[in-house]
Amino acid sequence: MTRRSRTAFVLAGLTAALLLAFVVSQFASSEPDGLDRVAIDQGFAGTASGHGTAGSPLADYGVSGVENSWLSTGLAGVIGVLLCFALAAGLIFAIRWTRRRPANSAPEPQR
């Protein structure tokens, strides 16, 4: 229950997420998802407009310029996993930091 074993757990979990995104995602179904299926069947799929970030180098879970579709999907997944990890961990650390700043020694002034 030490800090080190917690770090090991986080690294193991992150490795699992990277494997899911790099390897298992290759076997994902490309059929429309539940909402897309309903939109097609009920005739409102055509109301979807083009995506504002369709020009992103990672749009639609592929890395633009990478010809091999396997590698393109896998790399996009790895980048997404690392980005989500960093942003979510960063956000929570930032929340923690702003709460800690009034110092552990002095009580937080009443607002």
């Binding site: 179904s29 490309s30 309903v38 005739g43 979807a48 980005l83 989500c84």
Partner: protein, 227 residues
């Protein structure tokens, strides 16, 4: 279940955006009030895992697929406030970087797939834990059942969006029936993944599962002994 731009009209999307900002602000405040130091890096791990799992569409009946939404899973692992923030990060990254889920629909998507599954799922999880055996299996089963309900609840929330601001002129009744029907199937996948993942974490580091805090041995609870 990512809503693209255009399915829901602009006024509804704007209201959705404002509501989502409000919910995120509440989550930030509440997460700060309840932060448990041991869970700091876990928020990143939860977001990373849910992003990866959302890439993996599994087939359901009739040329249709589904993927994990994950709010119930996130809430059981790190609590609903931190969990909802991790979910929000995933949807922002998907919309801005991967062009998945419309930009104008981002707020709607955060409420639909993040907050709905997180809070409906966690609320039911807490109720189910009172009924089910007070052990690790009970926690996993409660998480799985609550996750199924969270997905079906999200299909109801989409139907509500469509009733308020849907485009394309489909009948709200038939949209409701179709959405609920297909998500009752997708929810089975959500339940299986949620139950197995919670089970796997409980098997390795039960002390890191927010929803199983009451199963921690009394001597290692930190500041929770008075509960």
């Amino acid at each position: 279940m990512h809503i693209p731009d255009g399915f829901i009209d602009a006024p509804t999307s704007i209201v959705g955006g404002i509501v989502a900002v409000g919910l995120i602000a509440v989550s930030i405040k509440k997460a700060g009030d309840t932060l448990d130091d041991r869970q700091l890096p876990l928020a990143g791990l939860v977001a990373a895992f849910i992003f990866a799992m959302q890439m993996i569409n599994f087939p359901v009946a009739g040329g249709t697929s589904g993927h994990l939404l994950g709010g119930c899973l996130a809430a059981v692992l790190v609590g609903p406030w931190v969990g909802s923030l991790a979910m929000t990060v995933v949807f922002i990254v998907q919309a801005l970087v991967f062009a998945d889920g419309g930009l104008t629909a981002l707020g709607l998507n955060i409420i639909l797939m993040g907050y709905t599954t997180c809070f409906v799922g966690y609320g039911l999880f807490v109720l189910l834990r009172k009924i089910l055996p007070r052990n690790k299996s009970g926690v996993s089963v409660a998480a799985a059942l609550a996750a199924w309900c969270g997905v079906v609840a999200a299909s109801l929330v989409f139907t509500f969006y469509y009733a308020v601001g849907g485009t394309g002129g489909a009948s709200v009744g038939t949209v409701a029936v179709a959405m609920i029907g297909v998500h009752m199937l997708i929810g089975i996948g959500e339940a299986v993944i949620t139950g197995l993942t919670v089970g796997a974490v409980l098997a390795t580091r039960p002390d890191l599962v927010h929803g199983a805090r009451d199963l921690r041995p009394v001597l290692v609870t930190d500041g929770q002994a008075g509960r």
